[in-house]
Symmetry: C2
Subunit: 414 residues, 2 copies
């Protein structure tokens, strides 16, 4: 499969990246703005989440109702996500509606109403998201683990706190928007069916004269790490662990991804086999790779009944450590097939493809073809994975458990 | 887009349905066996769920480890789901691995090991699934609502009870498998890239001489319906409601789907606008259509903080009822675009497409093209939706709430 990429860097710091996909009817777009949760003022955490909600409550000549009507009438399926560094607006629609959707998003970006009357309901919804997290302990544990693992403010939780949300004012948040809803560092990615000249022309017309702000600086402080137990009378103990690994732009990136696949890539993966299948210890166990620009982690989750939690922790940590010494040729070959297959299959979705383009450009300043990735995956040797794991051993864990009882964590220090 | 369908009915009652999709690299397959949860013996509920787990613990010449290794080495992404009528094995892989994957699934279907040593761990995992549901109250509420809404055993919960799982024996479950893992009424659907003659030949070779059992009969008893409150010290009140609508094979099916889309199809939908946006009442609200062969329901969920639960219930029920009287041309036009767009976009995934083929064949005994569906959606008038809603008004609700306090449900009886 040959791939056709387009990249256009506008003078205000906005970049358009695009990939034409043959024989699809849809176009997917992601708009990544440099207004992620790490830019929230520290006593106003939750700002980015409230802002993402508020932006869709009227823009240009349309009120909230008019805006929602217009997007729905175009069959646009959209969602908004707030990440560490970016706020991402994603939208998928049939290709012929892309121009009309783009025009609406230009209003959302440059002429959001940010009205006083829509401010309180926007805050209320994020406050409810925060409260609802109490009924989703697995998700809450993983979110709070990130906060412990990454240098502050990079791992900060999305929804802030009851106090920070209550303290937020419309005026402050408008100032925050003016500073961070910024073309400088923004990435627009499009995958699917489109006429590239027309697409570039529209982005230029709508957003080319959007004034840039200087990029915001982030001061980080070292992560707290350590071990936390949040007592909860839950049915399961939700055990989460994180340890450091290399970032997406590192030479050892593919070795790290393959190591994660051996650990947790399928039913024959080590965690699944050793923890779930042989010992029947857990309801769910997985390890996943996650990268920010300058920091990356391997995040492990295990959910199990409280009486099996101690053994689950010990076996899981044992597997994370054992990998460095005894990964085999056969396991690696299997992991390569899995990684390459899942990549190709994922890219059959225009939405996933648009997300991958934006991620590549943010991390690497260029786009990788599937062939480049497949070749790089194929080239990794067992020795390279072992060397990578020797340099980045599973250790210096951040750990967080939500469940009835604390665990004996001496196995983390061996 | 022109679509090429294939259908082959084998003499043992197995049907193969397939659709070639241009310019993709993957092939998705679903195997729907007539061994859903409704066939679980009533004092052995959870049988189908345990069996689906047990089937993947060795088959043909492979033990558990060998089976998992083989599927992972083919880059096969698979999952198993137990529905009311069917157990569904789904697998997606690159097209050139489809023949090898099919060969493995033939072993799983016809030569599963079902060994004694793998039985207890399979039961344990389902018991853990059941226990883990306690930490997912939204999912638990919807699952238990189905049980109240559909005639027993059609809405039965997946995981059984602690008692029914403890009572289950390997010998009983082997008998159950022999009776219900049956080609008679099974549907295999394939979507993506394949050589149809080869595919049909392989299915014929592997499964054509698989002996058929008589189809199992189901005796239903009227659903309990009514109102249930499950007290829980949760952060949110999880409110679920269900009322009757027409099945997928009914003439009014498209009217029912459009009514659901007006209620809950996007950010401008009635539930989203009236409940979430204007009143800021809920964290999440949605209504969705669900059809079995002879029964169908509209299922509504709202999650909200306990102090707003009463108002949320009343506004939600008000919206479900109001629809019949005042749906507009503009709303219907928007709903048609949404429904058609989401359909086209969904079908860009070979996995979704394979699922849709199996569903069509089960409900209609034929396959619908996207053009047929789009034309049928376009043809529905406002009067037809109103007439449908007049005949199937939102009433005779089944309701289930998980949360700290019971609600005043007099609004359901107006």
């Amino acid at each position: 499969m040959s791939q056709v990429f387009h990249t256009e860097e506008f003078s205000n710091g906005l970049t358009l990246v695009a990939e034409a996909v043959a024989d699809v009817s849809s176009s997917a777009i992601t708009i990544s703005l440099p207004s992620g949760v790490c830019f929230d003022p520290s006593d106003r955490s939750g700002s980015a989440a409230v802002l993402a909600e508020w932006c869709f409550r009227g823009a240009g000549d349309r009120d909230t109702r008019g805006l929602n009507d217009a997007l729905d009438a175009l069959g646009c399926q959209h969602h908004e996500s707030v990440l560490s560094h970016h706020t991402v607006f994603s939208a998928t629609q049939l290709a012929w509606n892309l121009p009309a959707v783009l025009e609406i998003y230009a209003d959302i970006l440059r002429r959001p109403a940010l009205s006083q009357e829509a401010f309180d309901p926007s805050c209320d919804l994020i406050a409810q998201d925060l409260e609802a997290l109490e009924d989703e302990p697995a998700r809450k544990a993983m979110m709070q683990l990130r906060e412990k693992f990454y240098p502050d403010p990079l791992g900060r939780g999305l929804y802030g706190t009851a106090e920070s949300l209550a303290a937020l004012t419309a005026e402050e948040l408008r100032d925050h928007a003016a500073k961070h809803m910024n073309p400088n560092g923004a990435i627009i990615s499009v995958a699917g069916k489109f006429d590239y000249d027309r697409l570039r022309g529209m982005i230029g017309e709508y957003l080319g004269d959007w004034s840039a702000q200087a990029p915001a600086e982030i001061q980080t402080t070292p992560p707290p790490r350590g071990i936390t137990h949040i007592p909860k009378d839950s049915a399961q103990a939700h055990i989460t662990l994180a340890h450091e690994t290399v970032t997406l732009s590192d030479d050892q990136y593919y070795a790290a991804r393959l190591a994660a696949t051996v650990l947790s890539g399928g039913m024959s993966s080590r965690l699944f086999t050793e923890v779930r299948e042989k010992r029947g210890l857990v309801y769910h166990v997985s390890a996943s790779y996650h990268s920010l620009k300058d920091h990356a982690g391997m995040f492990t989750y295990a959910g199990t009944v409280p009486q099996k939690a101690q053994e689950t922790l010990e076996v899981t940590v044992g597997e994370l450590r054992r990998l460095a010494s005894d990964i085999t040729e056969e396991e690696l070959a299997k992991a390569k097939t899995q990684l390459k297959s899942s990549l190709v299959m994922q890219c059959e979705s225009t939405g996933s493809r648009a997300g991958a383009l934006a991620s590549d450009y943010y991390h690497l300043k260029r786009l990788r073809s599937l062939t480049e990735i497949a070749d790089a995956v194929s080239a990794v040797s067992v020795d390279e994975v072992k060397e990578h794991l020797a340099q980045r051993p599973a250790g210096d864990f951040a750990m967080l458990v939500i469940g009835p009882e604390p665990l004996d964590t001496s196995c983390l220090n061996v």
